[in-house]
Homo-oligomer: 202 residues x 2
Amino acid sequence: MTMILRFAPPSPFARKVRIAASVLDLSDQITLETTDLNDPAETLRVQNPLGKIPALVLDDGTALYDSSVIVQYLDTLAGGVRIIPPSGMARFQVLRQEALADGLMDAGVLQVYEGRYRPAELHHQPWLDRQAGKVARALAAIAADPPPLDEPPHIGAIATACALGYLDFRFSGDWRAGNPGLVAWLERFEAAVPAYAQTAPE
Amino acid sequence: MTMILRFAPPSPFARKVRIAASVLDLSDQITLETTDLNDPAETLRVQNPLGKIPALVLDDGTALYDSSVIVQYLDTLAGGVRIIPPSGMARFQVLRQEALADGLMDAGVLQVYEGRYRPAELHHQPWLDRQAGKVARALAAIAADPPPLDEPPHIGAIATACALGYLDFRFSGDWRAGNPGLVAWLERFEAAVPAYAQTAPE
C-alpha cells in the first residue's frame, strides 16, 4: 500500500503525523506531497473540504483527516496500540495530552494567521492576547506534568514535542526561558526520536 | 460514578457530547455545569488550560477534552463500540465524518467570533469568506454523501446533525434552501434521536 500525505513543512499537525509514521516504521509507505492553496485547482480542497493539512490519501482515493484520525489509522495499520494505549485511563490520558498540545498549536496558528490573512491595521491585540493566554496556560500545564517518554513515544509525547517545536519556529523559542525542565524534556525526546530533527521546519 | 460536563447551551461541540451521552444511556451519570469565562476565577481554565468547552470532569478531578476524546471515553464507558465502530475502515470513515462536521463547526465558530471578539471596524471580509468557503465545501461534501443513520446513530451522524443545527442556530438555516436531501436527513435524525431536540439552543 502506498499512501500520500498532503502536508506543508511548517505545519505542526503534519509534523505530528510524520513523526508518528516514522516511529511506526511506516514512512516508506507514505509519499509526501505539498499543497498550494493559492492554486484554485489544488486537489486538497476535494480531498479535505475543509482545505486543511494534513490529509492522508489512501490507495483507493479515500482521504482521512484530521491529524488525530490519521494517527489512529496509522497506529492501527502498524498493528495497533503502539503509540496509543488500547484502553483504560492510560488511553484517555494520552489522548488528552494530544488534545492539549493540538489546542496549543491551534492557538499559535491563529496568532500567525492574524499576520498572514489580515492587514496590519485590522490586527486586534485582545484577540492575540486571548490566543496567547491559551498557549501560556497550556504550556504551564505541560511543564507541570510533561508526558512520560515511553519507548516508542506515545502520541501525547509526540504532539507535545511538535507543539514546543512550533513555539520554537514561530515564536522565537520564547517558551524556553521560563521552562528549563521542559527544555530538558524536549532534548530527551529529540535524542530518542530522530524523526523530530528530520521534520524540523526550515 | 458522577461526571460533570462543563458546557454552554449554544456550543455545538458540547451538544455532540450531550447527544452521545443520551444515546449511550449515560445522561443520568453526567451533571451539566455552565461556564462563565468572564469570571477570572472560572475553574474551566484549570480543568482545560485551553479554556474550551466541552470538558468532562471525572470523579477524581481528571478532566478530559476535546469533544472527540470525551465521546471516545463515553463510548468505552458504555461498553465500547456502540457509537464508534471498533476497527477497520468503518471506524475511520465515521471518525472522518466527525472531523468534517467538527471542522464545519470550527469554521462557523470563527465567523461568530469575528463579531464577538472584534469591533466592527476591524472585521475582515476575506477572512469571513475564507471560513464561509470551508463551511460551504464541507456542506456540499456532506450533502453528497450523508452519514448512514444507524441505530444507535454513530458519532459521524451525531456530529453532522450538530453541525447542521449550528448552521440553523447561527446562520439562519440558510443551508436548507439548496439542500433538500440533507434537510430530510436531519428530519430523520431528529425523529430517531430525541436528544437532538432536547439539546437545541434557544
